[in-house]
Amino acid sequence: MSEFWNNCLSQFEKELPAQQFQTWIKTLRSEEEGAEGLVQIVAPNRFVMQWVRERYLPRIQELADAFFGEYRPVKLSLGAAPEKMRSNSGPTSGSTLETQHNTVVLDHSASSVNGHIGAAALVATRNFSNQARAERAPEAPREVVRSAAETNREKSRLNPAFTFDSLVTGRANDLARAAAMQVAENPGISYNPLFVYGGVGLGKTHLIHAIGNAVQKANPNAVIRYVHAEDYYADVVRAFQQKAFDSFKRHYRSLDLLLIDDIQFFNNKARTQEEFFYAFNALIEAKKQIIITCDTYPKNIEGVEERLTTRFGWGLTVQIEPPELEMRVAILNKKAESEKVRLPEDVAFMIAKNLRSNVRELEGALKKVLAFARFHNREITLDVAKDALRDLIGAHNRQITLELIQKTVADYYKIKVAEMYSKKRTRAVARPRQVAMWLAKELTDESYPGIGDAFGGRDHTTVMHACRTIADLRMKDDSLNHDLHVLTQVLRS
């Protein structure tokens, strides 16, 4: 196992800039345990684990597959800390009643509403455990080395990948970006609140995470919280159910920077709006920065009280628009660059031309192309990209219906569609009808009786006869064979 890990390390050392290698890869260690054949990688903390999982795990998996010559699942896990955290939340090991109470409440909330489950719950549990332990005794070394900044980062729920550096700028978002950078430099002072609006999938979330990350970088002790409006609503509901409004209020009013996403989700949620109204006032008064995103401008939000929408307009309102073609290409290039892939220009243009409305699906398309090329071990070319993107439009299962066949064949032979189910048996209509039946058998899953039914309730033996006749004739009759070829093409295209 260690041999593999050494190999892996030296590979990464070659592929990554020194600083990235030192920060992310060097801190990992490999462990020999678990089920046979499992490659176990241990990260020193959750932040590194998340980062590595997002950026480097696929590559580690590739290296493992290559090294062992077969598929070996790579498992990334945290050091011993999580188990300790969990055991602390158990009723036997808690130190004070208060700690136990807090921990239990948080665990419960984690399982009740999904916005905060998992890591967030563990983090919260750990923070309370940490507090409790700080009051009593020496601790496990791993827990001690966790800096305040690191804990802060975990609590903020910021996505470290969303930074100003990774944000592509163009006409569509340059104003919003400039305002965001200004706010990041002088939080609470320049524009408060900053209200960012725009359509779906244009990078609003990316932009506000970038502000959060920049503020955090400048001031690691700043208390930052990113929250989606739906999760804020869930927090309110939970506070209501657990009669814990005091701690809820305390939490939101203690922030230095509140980033709240998709505020349109507040619509018709009166209690949530009320709570937010008070939090908003308290934060603004204390000169703490608030950043809001929405799918529309403040005055236009439906189902939100006017006293809130007015306040949303107090600071600066900026719009993000859909990116133009060149910017979409730039976004694709940036994304490819972060994956260490060179994207040919024609491929980038092809993808950017086909996906116009939002960045999210644009990146989805690129992901598909890269995955396809990597899997089939092919160079990224226009043809490979077109092949890969066929999955995005459902090109493989195009449904050919009997009606479509009947209409297409009737048009081709210039007869009425009604002749397909009429009783007439003259050659001029009987042959096209037979052709249509043969195509129906070839191109759909229908049975002989099913086809007979669709052609005016004919018997299945009639369909069988038609199929046999056409199959025989096409061997001898070139023009019929040509017709069948053309019709098949038309129906499949």
Binding site: K75, I117, A119, A120, V200, G201, E230, L392, I393, N397
Partner: protein
């Protein structure tokens, strides 16, 4: 005299081994990777009904459980306002095009929180993302996942799948039977398998060997029923 058969059915557990078709090789490899610990991607697969979507979701969940990951599989009708993500686990949701308004928000939130929970997301539906009638913020998130279309089986692959299915039930089925079934029956796999199951049952009930005449008789049955109604 009619032989009564016990109502005991072969428990056909979905796995990657009993999913036919070479065309889907890339998808299968990707699903296996998704099931393995440490993977937390989002994957959306689509195809017409009968293409094996549910089978693939079940097979992926089964594999993930073997790896010791917590797994949750939900059909669209079971999704309510909450859709908890199993931490470090796998959440599979079938028929997402059928999700109601609340359930769509639940899935939307699942997308938003999957990064923090380290959870993989496996979704299935009948249409490509651009044709899904979902809220736009959810639809684009589905569109940002890794997307695969379940490829249809060729006729010879369907014939192989039938032979394999017959074999697993201990039926002795000649190539003639399968050939006849492919020529005369509906050729989507669920229909074909259903005829094969009926053939097995009736051959046991009537204590007749599996022959072409018996198959023909069975294939007439639905038509006769139609005529009567």
């Amino acid at each position: 005299m009619r032989q009564l058969t016990l109502d005991v059915q072969l428990d056909r557990q979905a796995s990657f081994n009993n999913f036919a078709g070479q065309n889907n090789h890339e998808l299968l490899v990707r699903l296996k990777a998704l099931a393995s610990p440490g993977s937390f991607e989002a994957l959306y697969l689509f195809g017409p009904s009968g293409s094996g979507r549910t089978h693939l979701l079940e097979a992926t969940c089964a594999l993930a459980r073997q790896h010791g990951r917590e797994c949750r599989m939900a059909d669209s009708s079971q999704v309510g306002r909450d859709l908890p993500l199993p931490t470090q686990g796998l959440l599979a949701v079938d028929d997402i095009d059928q999700l109601n308004a609340d359930a769509q928000i639940a899935l939307f939130r699942a997308f938003n929180s999957m990064r923090l929970s380290g959870c993989a997301l496996l979704l299935a539906g009948s249409k490509p993302p651009r044709d899904l009638a979902l809220r736009e913020d959810l639809r684009t998130r589905v569109g940002s996942a890794l997307i695969y279309e379940v490829r249809p089986l060729s006729d010879s692959e369907k014939a192989d799948a039938l032979a394999e299915h017959a074999h697993s039930r201990g039926m002795r089925v000649s190539e003639d039977i399968i050939g006849y079934l492919m020529r005369h029956g509906r050729r989507d796999l669920p229909s074909l398998l259903a005829v094969l199951d009926a053939l097995d049952r009736i051959s046991l009930e009537q204590q007749r060997p599996i022959t072409l005449p018996l198959l023909r008789q069975i294939m007439q049955l639905p038509l006769e029923a139609d005529d009567l109604s």
